[in-house]
């Protein structure tokens, strides 16, 4: 892993840049000459490597192991072209502590080098998409919030946005900003959790303790606001469940200050640490073309240098009113993915500060009695209110026919919700495009050619949440 030099990307001077460009040009010219060089049998007809499409490349590399998953495999039947008899297929997980849940991998090993991999998922499949068809739109949030249990509020958000798009209602500005505040806080807590587990996977147990400690601060605020540390059911179609608690600005100030200060402590603990850098730099590389071909999104895509962040590129809520940077890496290795996530924590803190300042007053949910249940006090006074309350909680509200695909940027990438309504109070089809599910496809490619010992670090850097993968 040695010949890969890691620049920080930002501190390179102008001169170095132009010099590098010239070098690159010279290399390209040299390459072009070599590819059409004359031989004794005429000119060579070669194409530069970069013209190979990602699809072809992937087929050629053949990173994915295509093997039956069942236990009864006759070794003679295995249809793989072995280069020699030295490779062996071993199983990792699903109970392995470093696989972040119940991910199982079948790895083809040549000595200590990983050749092909097959991720096997489904151990946590609980039929949540089917369940979603049985629950009303009011109940739906309690279901989807359990998918990606590290960023439950994003799941609720995408479900609510999809429902609102079908209902064609606009929610009040305060609700939008509360949603944004909670989503950013959730991104911080999710990335902190990732920092913690990634640290542990690389043997830095103190990082694990610190990450969990800071995450607990965010979760304490969630508990104060929503009543629960996880699975909040806070963001609902029509707004949010409750207004922010009194004195929330002070909480935000303490939280932002503490986490920002401590994020610089992580720099000392990990970023500059030689062992950490050795283990992360040039491990698990992926190029931008490969990432796009594999539909990979989120920090993994950004680590390859593609500045694609739905908050910026296809703004939802009120992200277009915030000032923030999209963090990108340059090499698409483990270290870049680490830096992207660490810096995204800081960007989110920046956003939380702006949101705290710009939070508009007003209603926190839409005042449409067909969608939002009436306040408790009204039920005692008004028969209408009582009827609406009863209807909403027994039948739910009806959503016009239609279909919609809504996508937001969750901490793991593009979280999409494809919803079909047939005009009743339950979704006809509710499909969640889980970013972990899709990103996991990059794993065979990331692991290929690497060492077995790095596999744990690579799995961690993909940040799969199995609840969302299996749904």
């Amino acid at each position: 892993m040695s010949d890969h030099e890691h620049h920080d990307g930002h501190d390179r001077g102008e001169d170095a840049q132009t010099e590098e460009d010239a070098e690159h040009k010279a290399f390209e010219q040299e390459e072009a000459r070599a590819l059409v060089a004359e031989t004794s049998e005429g000119a060579q007809e070669l194409m530069p490597r970069r013209t190979t499409s990602a699809g072809e490349l992937r087929q050629e590399v053949g990173a994915v192991l295509r093997l039956p998953e069942g236990g009864f495999v006759n070794p003679g039947d295995i249809d793989i072209e072995r280069r020699d008899d030295q490779t062996m297929i071993i199983n990792m997980g699903p109970q392995h502590p470093s696989t972040h849940g119940v991910l199982r991998l079948m790895l083809e090993l040549d000595g200590e080098t990983v050749l092909r991999t097959k991720p096997i998922i489904g151990y946590l499949h609980t039929g949540m998409e089917k369940q979603g068809e049985e629950l009303t739109y009011v109940q739906g949030c309690t279901n989807v919030t359990r998918m990606d249990y590290l960023s439950p509020l994003h799941n609720e958000l995408v479900f609510s946005l999809a429902t609102e798009a079908l209902l064609d209602i606009e929610i009040p500005p305060r609700a939008v900003w509360i949603r944004m505040l909670m989503a950013e806080l959730n991104r911080v807590s999710s990335h902190l959790m990732w920092m913690a587990t990634n640290g542990m996977d690389l043997g830095s147990t103190s990082m694990m303790i610190y990450g969990f400690r800071e995450r607990e601060m965010v979760l304490a605020f969630f508990e104060k606001t929503t009543g629960l540390r996880m699975n909040h059911n806070f963001i609902r179609p029509g707004g949010v469940a409750a207004d922010l608690p009194d004195g929330w600005q002070d909480d935000m100030e303490v939280l932002c200050d503490t986490i920002l200060t401590r994020s610089y402590e992580y720099d000392e603990l990990l970023t500059g640490q030689p062992i950490f850098r050795e283990r992360t730099e040039a491990v698990g590389n992926i190029s931008a073309e490969e990432a796009l071909a594999l539909s990979v999104t989120g920090p993994i895509l950004r680590s390859t240098g593609v500045p694609w962040d739905l908050r910026r590129t296809m703004p939802y809520l009120a992200y277009d009113k915030l000032d923030f940077d999209v963090i990108v890496g340059s090499y698409g290795d483990n270290f870049d993915r680490y830096s992207v996530r660490l810096n995204e924590i800081r960007e989110s803190i920046k956003m939380i500060r702006q949101i705290t300042e710009m939070m508009p007053p007003g209603d926190y949910r839409v005042q449409d009695r067909k969608v939002t249940p009436p306040p408790r006090a009204r039920i005692d006074e008004s028969m209408e209110a009582l009827i609406h309350h009863f209807k909403i909680f027994t039948e739910g509200f009806r959503v016009p026919e239609g279909e919609v695909y809504v996508a937001i940027e969750s901490p793991r990438g593009e979280l999409g919700c494809y919803m079909v309504s047939d005009g009743t109070s339950k979704p006809y089809r509710m499909h969640i495009r889980g970013p972990s599910f899709v990103n996991l496809q990059a794993l065979p490619l990331l692991l290929r050619g690497g060492l077995m010992a790095d596999a744990v670090a690579v799995i961690s850097s993909v940040d799969p949440v199995m609840g969302e993968v299996d749904r």
Binding site: A54, G55, V64, G122, T313, E403, H431, V438
Partner: protein, 169 residues
């Protein structure tokens, strides 16, 4: 709400892709099954770099959905969401797949990222993607029977006894 619909486009000719102000309104396309893959290739060539999502829907109990003229509603529909980073645009391709022959061309060689998504659509709804490198179940156990997200899939119920059972009289 996706209120704009475009007519089915013949093979190779893309529907016009207007710039839409509302990001929730995606461009829709309804290719016939035979030219679906050609259309996907054409979209890829016109700058849709990545495929965000692929899923299938079973319209068994909701046959009267709104479709543009000339598109015959079938039981299954495969929905593909393509994304263009350069144009900041999404396009949604909806293909009708009949119940009698639920097969469709695989687009894994165009967008390798649809590998797992097509397997999921097969596992959950039983739509078979021809020429997929590994058309096996992905979420359910390999020996599972039936496709759970089909509307006629029998959902098992476990009776729950909330009170103590009455004793023998």
């Amino acid at each position: 709400m996706s209120s704009t619909t475009s007519p089915t486009s013949p093979a190779g000719i893309l529907p016009e892709v207007p710039r839409l102000p509302d990001r929730l309104v995606d461009q829709l396309a309804f290719p016939p099954r035979q030219t679906y893959k050609q259309m996907v290739v054409a979209f890829k060539d016109s700058g849709f770099e990545t495929c965000s999502d692929l899923c299938a829907v079973d319209y068994l109990t909701h046959p009267g959905r709104a479709l543009p003229d000339g598109v015959k509603a079938e039981r299954f529909e495969v929905v593909v969401n393509l994304l263009s980073l350069s144009m900041r645009q999404r396009v949604r391709i909806r293909v009708q797949v009949p119940e009698s022959d639920p097969t469709l061309d695989s687009i894994t060689d165009v967008y390798p990222g649809t590998d797992a998504m097509e397997r999921e659509a097969y596992d959950m709804l039983g739509v078979v993607f021809a020429d997929h490198p590994d058309m096996t179940r992905i979420l359910m156990p390999e020996d599972w029977e039936g496709h759970p997200l089909r509307k006629d899939y029998g959902v098992g119920r476990v009776p729950v006894q909330f009170k103590e059972a009455p004793g023998p009289r």
